[in-house]
Symmetry: C2
Subunit: 204 residues, 2 copies
């Protein structure tokens, strides 16, 4: 998924561009994409209504740009934490933790990403298919190095995305208990991923 | 979460009630909740506009009833498959499979449930918190019987919901490959839950 939007290069234009993006992120979160108008966005950003169209041809193109930006931010954040680790176990741990911590700092993340399901289903599909592809590459590498079992890595990528997303949701929406203790949450995830859930020898 | 709606008891009224529910489910999926009007729903259901209000005080109350109905259907479907199994491993396997197969038959499920995030965030919270509570009860039982390890079952419930939801999404939206082979998908999930992902003895 590529953005059609060219980011500006002069200082004033950059400021205006980001004021529009920030206002939109806030309003999409608060009122939803469909209830937010371009006028709402320009008012909140404190700019003239027509200025919007110097940067974005439409509300949809702005949303797409925001989604792509968010996906880049997530990938960059995860990569920064993962790249300094050597084992796949540590990479997995740090990746999951980085995602959850980013979601805590930007609680709008889920809303903006999942709302694509209601704006244009293809955006939602592209988002997860491309995320999964990158995940698979890392997992295949780890299989090759004998760090993880020879298992269907495409399915595993969805399993791991599912775990990370739901633990992140739990934290961001404060579902149930212990949501301030990210380390404990990640410990339990890694314990399960490492040792499995079941007692394999019969209990006496 | 309890519905405020009393379902009708006479045959004609039951038919009208379900025609409204079915029309709403279809339209919410196709156009989203916010873009669907009560008029759209009555037109599609083939009933007079005023009739709607004999059954539902508002579009929101209809949506809530649909969400509660869906959550009952999911629970009932899972329970029917799980209750005939004796080990927690088999229960888990059948529960996950039942959810995915239900999602295939009712692809609107995700849209309707997740849209609560954009209609009233508390509905989304209630939905997952109450689902997790039931899950935890089953897991605690299995811990007590020595079938699964003494692990934080509340966190595990979100891990398992995350896995099930993302594998279900993969199937329903056809993300990536092998989405017609539900048995294989569930096999990989259970393999990972049972044996973990990592090779624990160093590879030679």
């Amino acid at each position: 998924m590529e953005s059609m939007i060219k980011e500006p290069t002069t200082r004033n234009a950059i400021n205006t561009f980001h004021a529009i993006m920030d206002a939109a992120e806030e309003l999409f979160y608060k009122n939803g994409y469909h209830k937010t108008t371009v006028n709402n966005i320009t008012q909140r950003a404190g700019i003239a209504a027509g200025t919007f169209y110097l940067y974005f041809p439409s509300k949809l193109s702005l949303y797409k740009h925001l989604l792509i930006q968010m996906s880049h931010d997530i990938r960059r954040e995860i990569a920064a934490h993962v790249s300094v680790k050597t084992t796949r176990f540590e990479k997995e741990r740090e990746g999951i933790k980085a995602f959850i911590n980013l979601a805590r700092r930007r609680p709008h993340m889920y809303n903006i990403i999942w709302e694509s399901l209601y704006i244009d289903r293809e955006l939602f599909r592209d988002y997860y298919v491309s995320f999964a592809k990158r995940y698979v590459r890392g997992l295949d590498e780890a299989v090759k190095h004998g760090e993880i079992r020879a298992i269907d890595t495409e399915i595993v990528s969805y399993i791991l995305m599912g775990i990370t997303n739901f633990i992140g949701l739990k934290v961001v929406l404060d579902l149930g208990n212990q949501n301030n203790d990210v380390d404990h949450l990640v410990d339990v995830v890694m314990d399960l991923i490492k040792h499995g859930l079941f007692i394999t020898t019969p209990s006496t």
